[in-house]
């Protein structure tokens, strides 16, 4: 008989997760407690977690298994999507262990290897291993190199050893290349999973379905019918919880645009893939990133990119300090809390269509969406006197919150006069499908156990995105005529300069 499980055939419409041991580096951090372990627990609740999955938390602090489990158990009820049930948690918890070691200490990795062998021997021999690097980025090199030193990067025959790397995947192109080289010296590309949790969101996955499973959109999805595309990620928070220390070294461009928003852009702009395999999809996505026109001089950056910091204001009725007054932020910081970029994709399909991408902190509300603005119909008949009325159709894909899709179209106002008003056809996931969507981490962990890398970034995608971003960062931080840092009041929709960026093209930001 073949080594494949015959009972999996036709049972589910996706690749199947295999039993494994998950080793989480940085196990005492927030990500492990608030996202990773609750995601694994929710998979157990749904019956999706393969039997016998073990979790080993690897971190520097001294802790026993019991103390580690107690900490996870305390947080789980507060953050778990499906609540907390002792009947599921208790057997799940028995499979959670703690491994204390410094990230630089090779002996700690040898002890880890012994421990994993012990687990595998208990299972009758060989086992799969999933290493999740969720530590601070400065330890990525040590962790990967030490895994290699003790041979944990190599799997036994018929098994696999994979690595998931959390963002930030580098801080610029050279550091990303360096990290990629370290990773590729340790794990093959097909065993490397660079996580971008935006890709695990239900609506992000629905972009391809919307485009390629509906015949009405694809014929219009080009520069002949689309005037502009806007991708907005608005956050109504600032630097709460001591986040300023990390953020001030990163900024909106590196923290959000380089990864999440360029990934969304590539899903919107990609050509139809030849198949739905991981590389089939990623081949097309990387072509988009590669086709981005480079803003490679300070002048081009000044013309196409706006950076800004918030000043004191009010968000949700609460007074907020300015960015430079935030905890752990340099009072003379030149890190942007807001960025707006005009992206041009130099392909046949998208020639001349601007993709406006913006991200900001301390904006009026939390929302991420993509809006596709179609060209207005000819100014004859109904549109000959439509001044002041937005005439074009707009298709909006809401990524979060209130995931859904809406389409704006023109309609006649009832009455004897011929007056037009835009109306909206609206699809809400929550209204139509009462069942909650799984958390992005649930889907991504399951995919990595199944060997499906479709929703993970590939090396070339990451590097191409850094290449685009690095030109802008260099113009801001290394040139003599650096484009200025604009300001916006906390609670506003961003700086005037960002509005002007669109005005140059005769466009304006969509009001969220």
């Amino acid at each position: 008989m073949a080594n494949t499980n015959p009972f999996r055939e036709d049972l589910v419409t996706r690749s199947q997760a295999a039993p494994c041991t998950v080793v989480i580096f940085g196990a005492t951090g927030d990500l492990t407690h608030r996202k990773l372990v609750p995601a694994l627990y929710n998979l157990a609740v749904e019956g999706e977690l393969p039997p016998g999955v073990k979790i080993i938390g690897f971190a520097r602090r001294e802790k026993s298994d019991e103390v580690f489990r107690a900490g996870l158990k305390e947080i789980n009820p507060k953050v778990s999507r499906s609540g907390h049930e002792a009947k599921i948690w208790d057997p799940f918890e028995e499979n959670i262990h703690y491994h204390q070691s410094e990230f630089q200490d090779v002996d700690g990795y040898q002890r880890l290897a012994d421990r994993l062998d012990e687990i595998d021997n208990g299972r009758g021999g060989k086992g799969n291993r999933l290493f999740y690097v969720a530590s601070a980025p400065e330890f990525f090199d040590d962790i990967l190199e030490n895994l290699k030193k003790v041979g944990l990067n190599e799997a036994a025959d018929g098994c696999w050893a994979r690595v998931i790397v959390e963002k930030p995947f580098g801080t610029d192109l050279p550091s990303a290349k360096h990290l990629n080289e370290v990773v590729s010296r340790t794990f093959a590309e097909k065993e490397t999973y660079r996580i971008d949790h935006y890709l695990g969101k239900e609506t992000a996955q629905n972009i391809m379905v919307l485009r390629f499973a509906n015949a009405i959109f694809e014929p219009l999805w080009n520069n002949r019918y689309i005037e502009q595309v806007q991708i907005t990620c608005s956050e109504n928070l600032g630097m709460e919880g001591g986040r300023g220390g990390y953020y001030d070294k990163s900024g909106a461009m590196r923290d959000m645009i380089q990864n999440h928003l360029l990934q969304l852009l590539s899903l919107v702009a990609m050509e139809p893939p030849t198949d739905l395999s991981a590389d089939g999809v990623r081949d097309e996505k990387v072509k988009v990133i590669r086709s981005l026109r480079q803003w490679d001089t300070p002048e081009k950056v000044a013309e196409n990119v706006v950076r800004a910091q918030y000043t004191a204001g009010t968000v949700d009725g609460v007074s907020r300090v300015g960015y430079r007054e935030e905890d752990r932020v340099d009072p003379e910081s030149m890190t942007e809390s807001y960025v707006a970029v005009r992206c041009m994709i130099d392909t046949w399909r998208w020639s001349g269509v601007p993709f406006y991408v913006r991200m900001g902190k301390q904006l009026p509300k939390k929302a991420t969406e993509i809006s596709i603005h179609f060209k207005s119909p000819p100014s004859v008949l109904f549109n000959s006197d439509s001044s002041g009325t937005p005439g074009g159709n707009v298709l909006v894909i809401r990524i979060q919150p209130d995931e859904g899709i809406s389409l704006r179209m023109m309609s006649k106002i009832p009455g004897a006069n011929l007056r037009l008003e835009p109306v909206k056809m609206d699809f809400h996931y929550a209204t139509s499908f009462g069942k909650g969507s799984p958390e992005a981490y649930e889907r991504l962990l399951l995919d990595s156990m199944a060997g499906d890398a479709t929703l993970f970034a590939r090396r070339d995608e990451v590097e191409e995105a850094w290449k685009f971003v690095d030109h802008i960062e260099r113009a801001w931080h290394e040139s003599d005529n650096a484009p200025p840092m604009a300001e916006y009041t906390a609670g506003s929709w961003g700086p005037k300069e960002a509005d002007d960026l669109l005005k140059q093209d005769g466009n304006e930001w969509r009001r969220l």
Binding site: M1, P6, E9, L11, Q16, P19, G47, P51, T431, G434
Partner: protein
């Protein structure tokens, strides 16, 4: 005319001719509500009290599946020919934010009804949305080509049938007659979580390696769930590539079948029946490995167990639904993919005899 005893839950009684107008009025009463619908869900019952019971079920289903529900209560024995209608709406707070409501139209028909079912009741379908039709109980002569050519997804429970072979034959006829008719058996759905959990157990390399050496396969099911149990048996044997051997024993307290694995070893499969859960145990025993799934009465979880040599792994998984509302909810969530069921059905019919 026989009217259901308690019609309060069915909402407002309305004249057939004014259903649309009354529905419109219903929505005008409260602007804060969102009317949502992804499908037309018709529920057909010839049981007395079916309308009231199904109203409760729809209340539950609409929490996860927005639909226009059309409940049909049929009294075919009545000498009088009549039709009575009610309308109501089921509203839920979606994610604690928005009141989402789904319409329910209820029809009580007496006397000869096939034509009226099609012409009167189905005149109230939401256009462009698929028609999911849940037939409760035995398939009567109402189930004819005039009816099933309208249906996109036909849901039934073969465990409710006294003569399942006859019921399956009628459904097969309907499937052949209409390309847009897809049949879904709740007995198959009932085994869904068991199949998922069993498949998960065989992800273990030791369990997988022992599969061709299996000697015994034991299934325990409730006495009225024979088709559910036989679906599980048919699925296991077909997926494992086992062939039925000619030897056949009908044991006094259940079914016994003999199979041959691809390696030529013999497997004795026993299906026992009791009065507990719809399914309570599936066990595969090989010389050095035992794979067992079992469920304690009233437990919401399945216990997954593999014992190979001196090592055992145990875990819990959701047991899946027992009640019809949740079963249907789960079925609707699976969409229209039905290839595995179609593949297993012939083997199951063979076991059914």
């Amino acid at each position: 005319m026989t009217i259901p005893e308690n019609t309060i839950a069915l909402g407002k009684e309305v004249a057939i001719a004014s259903i649309d107008k009354e529905l419109h009025r219903l929505w005008e009463q409260d602007d804060a509500r969102t009317n949502a619908s992804l499908t037309n869900l018709a529920v057909y019952s010839e049981h007395p009290g079916g309308l009231e019971k199904n109203t409760q079920i729809i209340q539950s289903i609409t929490r996860e599946h927005a639909c226009r529900s059309i409940l049909i209560g049929m009294d075919r024995e009545s000498p009088e020919t009549s039709i009575t209608a009610w309308i109501t709406a089921h509203c839920h707070l979606a994610h604690g934010r928005k009141s989402v409501c789904c319409e329910q139209l209820s029809f009580h028909l007496t006397g000869r009804a096939t034509g009226r079912l099609r012409n009167t009741v189905f005149a109230h379908l939401n256009s462009d949305l698929p028609l999911v039709f849940w037939w409760q109980g035995e398939l009567s002569d109402i189930f004819s080509d005039r009816l099933y050519t309208l249906i996109n997804r036909f849901i039934f429970d073969s465990a409710e049938w006294e003569k399942p072979a006859e019921g399956f034959a009628k459904v097969a006829t309907a499937s052949q007659a209409s390309r847009s008719f897809f049949a879904f058996d709740l007995a198959w759905m009932r085994s869904h979580s068991w199949r998922l959990s069993l498949a998960a157990l065989f992800d273990d390399p030791l369990a997988l390696a022992s599969l061709p050496k299996t000697k015994e396969l034991n299934i325990t099911a409730h006495r009225n769930q024979r088709t559910t149990a036989l679906f599980v048996l048919a699925w296991i044997t077909q997926q494992a590539g086992w062939k039925r051997s000619l030897e056949l024993d009908i044991a006094a307290d259940g079914d016994v079948f003999h199979f041959e694995t691809q390696e030529g070893s013999e497997v004795v499969a026993k299906v026992s029946y009791d009065e507990t859960s719809p399914l309570s145990e599936v066990e595969l025993i090989a010389p050095n490995c035992k794979v067992r799934l079992h469920r304690n009465p009233d437990s919401e979880y399945l216990h997954q167990e593999i014992c190979a040599g001196d090592h055992c792994i145990g875990q819990r998984a959701p047991a899946g639904a027992d009640d019809p509302a949740q079963l249907l909810t789960d079925q609707l969530a699976l969409g229209t993919k039905n290839t595995l069921y179609s593949k297993i059905l012939p083997s199951m019919l063979e076991l059914l005899g």
